[in-house]
């Protein structure tokens, strides 16, 4: 597999980030792990935004990934991280393959509301499931990897390095996807679905593939979140959680695969300091941040980089 310049940069940044984790304080390692887990869900949101669809229910797959990981450990006594994540992604893919048949019939606000509806149905089911801890959720068992278990206190750093590695591979794959025929066809559908149909392509099939792929990526984030936080609860499927993913997607923009990663980290830092600064009205700071982004950087934080590149070329 030959890597192009962008992909090499993405892998280089990931390497630096992983190395930085070795010297960073534990709270920062944890914060970055959570941010990267969320960034995967945001990637799922952005994938659909590129096809012209806004989902207010991506928390559904975030939650499915998290609960599949948690339940596999709890009920099946599986502790292998790789296997747990595969189960989480597999569960989300199966659900997305089913729901996608309906979802891809809808566009615009109808798609957004239907996605929200499905995530809220899951939320309602989980809240009523006493076997799964109802509103409290339940704790996720400690993980191992191919028979190796991290030493006491080393798990957060090990998980951070693993998630950085996974994010690096994901970034390369998503970068390729965005330039592939399927990725470009998503943009074409956003621009003019009728024309895509008259070019001999099925917009529904393209959107279906995109929907399932976005679910898989989001479930991966949910799985990592469960392993990192060590706890899962129905809030993962709540509409505010899904709204947060859309917020981060808008913060970063859809122009580059790196944007959701950057935006998720910026969001985590801003939120942490906002809570520290004004514990009871931190949401106001987030609101002003989003307002500023929409007014001054309508294409998201990534436009800071593209603007700089344009100026350098000029």
């Amino acid at each position: 597999m030959r890597l192009n310049r962008t992909e090499l940069i993405l892998l280089g940044v990931a390497l630096l980030l992983a190395a930085g984790g070795l010297i960073a304080p534990q709270w920062l390692v944890f914060l970055l792990t959570m941010a990267l887990a969320k960034s995967m869900v945001v990637q799922g949101v952005v994938m659909q935004m590129r096809a012209g669809l806004v989902t207010f229910g991506q928390g559904l797959y975030f939650c499915v990934g998290g609960y599949a990981v948690g339940m596999s450990g709890h009920f099946l006594d599986i502790s292998d991280l790789a296997l747990l994540l595969v189960i989480g992604v597999g569960a989300a893919v199966l659900l997305a393959m089913l729901l996608g048949l309906l979802m891809t019939r809808y566009r615009e606000i109808f798609f957004a509301m239907l996605s929200l509806a499905f995530s809220m149905i899951l939320y309602g089911v989980l809240v009523k499931s006493s076997a799964l801890g109802s509103t409290d959720g339940f704790n996720v068992k400690a993980w191992s990897l191919f028979g190796w278990s991290p030493a006491q206190g080393q798990a957060p750093l090990a998980l951070f390095i693993i998630i950085v590695g996974v994010c690096a591979v994901l970034a390369v794959l998503l970068h390729r996807y965005s330039r592939s025929s399927a990725g470009m066809m998503c943009e074409a559908i956003r621009e003019n679905e009728v024309r895509v149909e008259y070019l001999g392509q099925s917009p529904r099939w393209v959107l279906y593939m995109n929907y399932v792929a976005a679910a898989a990526v989001s479930a991966l984030g949910g799985g990592f979140m469960a392993l990192s936080a060590g706890h899962i609860d129905p809030e993962m499927a709540y509409w505010i959680t899904s709204g947060e993913f859309v917020f981060i997607a808008l913060l970063g923009g859809t122009a580059h695969v790196a944007a959701p990663f950057i935006a998720a980290i910026v969001f985590a830092v801003v939120r942490t300091y906002a809570i520290e600064l004004v514990p009871h009205s931190w949401q106001m700071i987030l609101g002003f941040t989003l307002l500023a982004i929409i007014v001054f950087l309508p294409k998201g934080l990534w436009s800071l980089f593209t603007g700089q590149a344009r100026r350098a070329k000029a």
Binding site: A182, M185, Y198, G200
Partner: protein
């Protein structure tokens, strides 16, 4: 001679409004057929039914002898019947080259690849050749929103032709184009379709354009085919003059 396109008793009603009434048309391979008629005569409805956008209320559409009723537009496109639109249907935020590359990728594979890049040297070469054929290569890297209307029409037609269809349906290819540009645009289009030996059916209001390029005219009025024949014969038909071209009224007014 066998037909490439045949419609049998094609009807379409939108509630109480009848947009097509017993339309029977036979198009032979290689023909260039002009479809004329006043606004609301049923021309675009006819094209929309033939290309799968609208389902006829009754009747049959045969393409190369095969029924295409109930097929999706993409299935009909893949069978070899492409179309362009009254308002050019492009991807406005993308460059001209990307528009064509998407058309090439779509034509080559009904199931787009998830990881292989869309922009390959072979596809770029194909798109470049098409741009050169239509004399619009200088707009290659321009965003579609920044190109003139006439060029947009040509891009729309180029995208339809990229899948190498046997038949091309053009819905008012010169609408929105200035009078001075019309002839140059149609000369280019007709040159390219002649080189590719594509059967053409085009809807047009401008009778000069119709006379110049077609070998046969279908005149529509109130959802029906009023006349079908060579241009001189159809345009001399008193009913066509009265209901379609309006030339009889003009003559009458002049006589008065």
């Amino acid at each position: 001679m066998s037909c490439i396109l045949e419609t049998q008793g094609l009807c379409k009603a939108f509630g109480a409004v009848t947009a097509a009434k017993d339309v029977n048309v036979r198009i032979r391979p290689g023909e260039v057929v002009g479809v004329i008629g006043s606004n609301g005569a049923g021309k675009t409805t006819f094209i929309n039914m033939v290309t799968g956008y609208l389902k006829p209320s009754s009747g049959q559409v045969l393409f190369n002898g095969q029924s295409i009723i109930g097929r999706t537009p993409r299935a009909i496109t893949r069978l070899g019947m492409a179309r362009s639109f009254q308002v050019a249907q492009l991807f406005p935020q993308l460059s001209v080259m990307d528009n064509l590359l998407i058309a090439v990728a779509a034509a080559q594979n009904p199931f787009p690849s998830l990881l292989a890049p869309m922009r390959t040297a072979a596809r770029v070469a194909l798109a470049d050749a098409m741009l050169a054929q239509f004399d619009i290569a200088r707009w290659r890297d321009t965003q579609v929103t920044a190109v003139p209307q006439g060029v947009r029409k040509l891009i729309d037609i180029a995208m339809a032709l990229i899948g190498e269809p046997q038949m091309l349906l053009l819905d008012e290819p010169t609408s929105g184009v200035s009078a001075e540009e019309k002839t140059a645009l149609m000369d280019t289009v007709m040159r390219v379709v002649a080189e590719r030996r594509v059967t053409v059916l085009f809807v047009e209001h401008d009778m000069d354009v119709v006379r110049r390029y077609v070998s046969r005219i279908l005149a529509f009025y109130s959802g029906e085919v009023l006349a079908d024949g060579v241009p001189e014969q159809v345009l001399a038909n008193p009913r066509v003059q009265e209901f379609v071209t309006g030339s009889q009224k003009v003559h009458q007014r002049v006589a008065l």
